[in-house]
Symmetry: none
Subunit: 259 residues, 2 copies
DNA sequence: ATGGTACACGAACATCTGTGCGATGTCAAG
DNA sequence: CTTGACATCGCACAGATGTTCGTGTACCAT
């Protein structure tokens, strides 16, 4: 399920949940969602939330007020425009440590004019670890794993070779990139971008697949070739038409953990 | 106000809120707090929450269900033992939970999450980057001393496979460990220790040399062999009597930065 | 036309949840 | 001993919230 395939309302709902939670540090209620997405009936909100849950984009705790959370890994894999919220995400994490979390009195929020964005040029930034990524033959990754704000890595911008914006991290599962020193259990830091250059290690989603994998990118005319880094014949390059592959981000750093 | 000055109950309340939120991604209700902190009256919970709010440890959204959030900056500044918030008290909460014949298989406090897997601990620590290795001056391995606060990496302990004590980091210069995927410019995180096991990648100082280098360690009777990971004949293993070699630390993590 | 499916509404309903308030226990100061 | 601040309790109650259910609309294949 692509994020862009969701109905306008559902996209707005997710966006609202993300923003609301970021601002208030607790999730919105069904009626609050309805108000801001212009749905008069709570049952319609519930209807759409159920849909979103069935897609794996959110998780719900039945009968609990505000008992819902966003599943960022699944969202990312579906093409959720993180750049719109990436700023907020990191900013939120940063603010949490830096200033008092203030409650937005009444979140009067208009989808159109959001995130005025100011590149807080702080030298340090946080990279949220949003979930896992398969790096091999389809490993069953629990798509329901929810975003856990407790897991992040904090670095100084100078450590990386790219601007410290739109960064996120994923835990690697599988051995497909073993020759590139990306082992099972490692953490890769990615910069969210829709495009990448040949040779870049990217998180890519292939239409029809249920998950995103880590591969090297190489273009071949109208196609893209996703190349694993493992000599084992079990791992073969995947060639697909460019429009069937979605780049979720480029790996900018690998954190390898020795035993 | 010091965290330790809070009453037992208030400390437990905060612990619970932190843990609950981390697990469920939404804050607990007053009654849920009461249940897990052994307060039968909702008003008492409210009373204590008000206290905590007046101290600035939490924020509340009046009249909103689960409308509360933890103020981490204030907590940390007050000496909140973040490192153990995932352990002791949490465990206590579980004991209560399991021994108290609760009702249906609700999503409750997610006892199912008992699986110690990736939820090991969220304890965070800072790793100072003390200098460079394999190129320059001997390293002053003393993480306790002053270091440039701009240069450090912050991680969650769960990310590593070793206790997060006595850690420090060095920038790598040179290619002596290229086959081990430690490239020029990478950052290695080491755990300060005088000994290591065969096969460990260590920072070693050889008597007579002016610098410390990165090598694989292997014992050979009374000698130790320091093996570089580079096929170039320029790099040769170094064999010395054990008492002429000093281990400065063992590499526990490698952070590779891609271009 | 007929029937099925997806989406939407709104009202009724059942809980969940926060708040208010009086009563009680504790403890140190007066 | 009395007093009063502080911490607890229990409980009633209103408001906040999620869920259910009957109904309506549009679209599409039969």
């Amino acid at each position: 399920m692509n994020f862009s395939d969701l109905s306008e309302r559902q996209q707005r709902i997710i966006h609202f949940i993300v923003e609301f939670t970021r601002r208030n540090h607790y999730p919105p209620s069904i009626r609050e969602i309805g108000d801001h997405v212009h749905i008069s009936s709570t049952s319609v909100v519930k209807y759409n939330l159920s849909k979103l849950e069935s897609y794996g984009f959110i998780s719900r705790a039945p009968d609990k007020s505000r008992g819902l959370s966003v599943n960022f890994p699944a969202l990312l894999a579906s093409g959720y425009p993180l750049q719109q919220n990436g700023e907020s995400l990191q900013k939120a994490a940063f603010v949490e440590e830096t200033s008092t979390p203030q409650r937005a009195p009444e979140l009067e929020y208009d989808t159109a004019d959001e995130s005025p964005v100011e590149r807080a040029s702080s030298r340090r930034f946080r990279v949220p670890i949003l979930g896992k990524i398969a790096a091999g033959s389809p490993i069953a990754v629990n798509p329901r794993e929810a975003y856990d704000p407790e897991d992040w890595i904090e670095l100084a911008e100078g450590l990386l070779n790219v601007p410290a914006d739109n960064l996120f991290a994923l835990r690697v599962q599988g051995d497909s990139m073993i020759d590139a020193s990306v082992l099972d259990g490692d953490i890769v830091i990615l910069r969210h971008q829709e495009t990448a250059e040949d040779g870049d290690m990217v998180a890519a989603w292939i239409e029809g697949d249920e998950e995103t994998t880590l591969k090297f990118l190489q273009r071949e005319g109208p196609n893209v070739r996703l190349i694993p880094a493992n000599p084992n014949p079990e791992y073969q390059p995947i060639v697909r038409p460019a429009d069937k592959v979605r780049i979720n981000g480029k790996v900018v750093s690998v954190i390898r953990v020795l035993k």
